[in-house]
């Protein structure tokens, strides 16, 4: 009923300019978002659906992609210990990167907030600026530091911290360091945002009640920025688990993660169905982690922080 009335009214509108109505037509928002909806339906939902269908196809070296519908690719990945290793490595790297980002990013955000005006702006620029610089350029920097110039090893040996050079290129350690560098600004931003909501007088209040600086930190500041650290961790983990350029450059072809594995299946082995399967698994894992963790964080802190 309602729909037919609307159609009728829209017909009037097309033929003659209608008199001004006090209320907006209920379909205005749909009209406004229509271009975006059409674009996203055609260019996001269809390609993603096709990728899922592709992951069900089979592939043979001579026959190419065969239009069959089966779960063989998924079964292959579940059965093969090589894929286990790659996925496990991907999540291990993401977990360690997340931990390092939280460990360094959160204190840095706190220090930044306590800085005085001209310094604070400058330091914030240095911390956030790398986000605007291409990931490729930043990773290239680490490749230069680790490999060709060996500056990191020279420095560490000069300081007497290590006796023999550590291998960073093509190792997990190298990938973890470079990814931490790429992603830590996200953690600083996230914690920074939660610090903005923190009343600076709250720390003074705790002091006046007799709490020492460490107690203030542990009992008053930390609990209030935990939501910021958690949401920062979700961002960092998701980005680290699906990172491509950095593990590709630092890890090389030997040290594969999920994203570089999918890339190789697609562009080198040309086994598109298998590449699509890896992509679908990565997508599902990503969505589950982001949505699931967000729900959890929201539920846990809704009571306290609206």
């Amino acid at each position: 009923m309602a729909a037919s009335t609307e159609t009728h009214l829209s017909g009037t509108k097309a033929t003659a300019p209608p008199p001004r109505r006090p209320r907006r037509w209920p379909w205005t928002p749909y009209l406004l978002s229509a271009p975006g909806l059409a674009l996203f339906a055609v260019l996001l939902l269809v390609p993603l659906a096709m990728t899922f269908l592709l992951s069900l196809n089979s592939f043979s070296f001579y026959g190419g992609i065969e239009n069959v519908w089966q779960l063989g690719n998924y079964a292959d990945i579940i059965a093969d210990s090589y894929f286990h290793e790659v996925f496990l490595r991907t999540f291990r790297i993401a977990a360690v990167v997340t931990l390092l980002c939280a460990l360094f990013g959160a204190p840095e955000a706190y220090i930044l907030r306590r800085m005085k005006s001209p310094w604070r702006g400058l330091c914030l620029l240095i911390v956030l600026g790398p986000l605007l610089i291409s990931v490729v350029s930043r990773t290239l920097g680490w490749a230069l530091l680790f490999g060709s110039t060996g500056l990191v090893n020279q420095g560490l040996m000069g300081l007497g911290l290590i006796a023999t050079p550590i291998e960073f290129m093509y190792t997990e350690t190298g990938v973890i360091i470079a990814l931490t560098h790429v992603l830590v600004p996200f953690m600083v931003l996230s914690v920074w945002a939660s610090l903005q909501r923190l009343d600076p007088q709250v720390e003074n209040a705790a002091l006046s009640l007799g709490a020492g600086p460490l107690t203030v930190m542990r009992r008053v500041v930390l609990p209030q920025i935990v939501p910021g650290i958690l949401s920062g961790s979700i961002i960092v983990f998701a980005l680290a688990a699906s990172a491509f350029a950095t593990p590709a450059i630092i890890g090389g072809r030997r040290l594969k993660v999920a994203a570089t594995l999918a890339y190789d299946e697609f562009l080198n082995t040309l086994n598109w169905p298998l590449g699509a399967t890896v992509a679908v698994l990565l997508l599902i894992a990503n969505v589950v982690i982001i949505v699931g963790c967000n729900r959890l964080v929201e539920r846990r802190y809704k009571q306290v922080f609206e």
Partner: protein
């Protein structure tokens, strides 16, 4: 009031050094006078910057990147402004779902999008074309633009629009003369953030780009995969200089923090 202690300041200095080290080393190596990767210990030289001129594919990729960023950001804004107004101003069935859909590319790994677009564009004949690049970039940068425009539209006082309507302005005039100027800061920063994200994108683009139509980060990435030499350091250094210059301008005009707090996912 509360000051940072010495331990905090040491930590801070180390943290900043960690962030700056790889960026500075790229710039340093770019100035080497040697034919191989080394620090410019023998004096600064511009030979590798001159060498960029002998590699027109970098310059072409740079131009393509700029064009791609500009076109796709503009398209994204054109789609995002009405969508943001719909979401910010109206209560309607499916509002939450539509907003979630528009923000969903933030949750999809770019590698997945790259694979999806490669398959899709190959089938519809857009494989390796500039149009394909533009369309795919619009999808991934739209959430960034949308969020900033959404923030601007939500923060705007609706009574101002009602005032314009009561003075006899039509819906279109009202939008053009009142709404748009008021959300313009959000729109402008949305465009800038969209442009930056398009310009820096590499993971998805590496799948869609062709040797003829490619972006600078992809060109750099593929080059680095084969061979790291002072030439890529020089190209990266130019990119870093340009980014820093743009960043300083942006910080003056808009405030980097304000722009970036909208970046990333939540």
């Amino acid at each position: 009031m509360n000051r940072n202690g010495p331990i905090a300041l040491i930590f801070h200095v180390l943290f900043l050094s960690f962030l700056l080290a790889p960026i500075l080393i790229v710039c340093a190596v770019a100035f080497t006078s040697q034919g191989y990767l080394s620090l410019p210990t023998e004096g600064l030289s511009l030979r590798w910057f001159r060498a960029i001129g002998d590699n027109p594919e970098f310059i072409r990729a740079f131009k393509d990147s700029l064009l791609l960023g500009a076109v796709s950001s503009t398209l994204a804004i054109l789609v995002a402004v009405p969508a943001a107004l719909a979401i910010a101003r109206h209560q309607f069935f499916g509002r939450e779902a539509i907003q979630a859909l528009f923000l969903s590319p933030l949750m999809v790994p770019h590698i997945v999008l790259g694979i999806a677009f490669l398959r899709f564009f190959t089938m519809i004949g857009l494989g390796g074309t500039f149009a394909g690049l533009v369309l795919s970039h619009v999808i991934i940068i739209l959430p960034f633009a949308l969020r900033l425009i959404l923030a601007a539209s939500t923060g705007m006082d609706r009574a101002v629009e009602n005032a314009a309507a009561s003075l006899g302005a039509s819906s279109w005039t009202c939008f053009r003369r009142v709404t748009l100027p008021l959300i313009l800061p959000g729109v402008a920063s949305g465009w800038v953030l969209a442009f930056i994200n398009s310009f820096d994108e590499v993971t998805m683009t590496v799948f869609i780009a062709s040797p003829e139509t490619t972006t600078l980060p992809v060109r750099l990435f593929l080059y680095i995969q084969d061979n790291i030499d002072p030439l890529v350091a020089a190209v990266s250094a130019v990119l870093i200089f340009l980014t820093v210059a743009a960043m300083l301008v942006l910080d003056r005009v808009y405030g980097l923090e304000r722009l970036l707090v909208g970046k990333g996912r939540d």
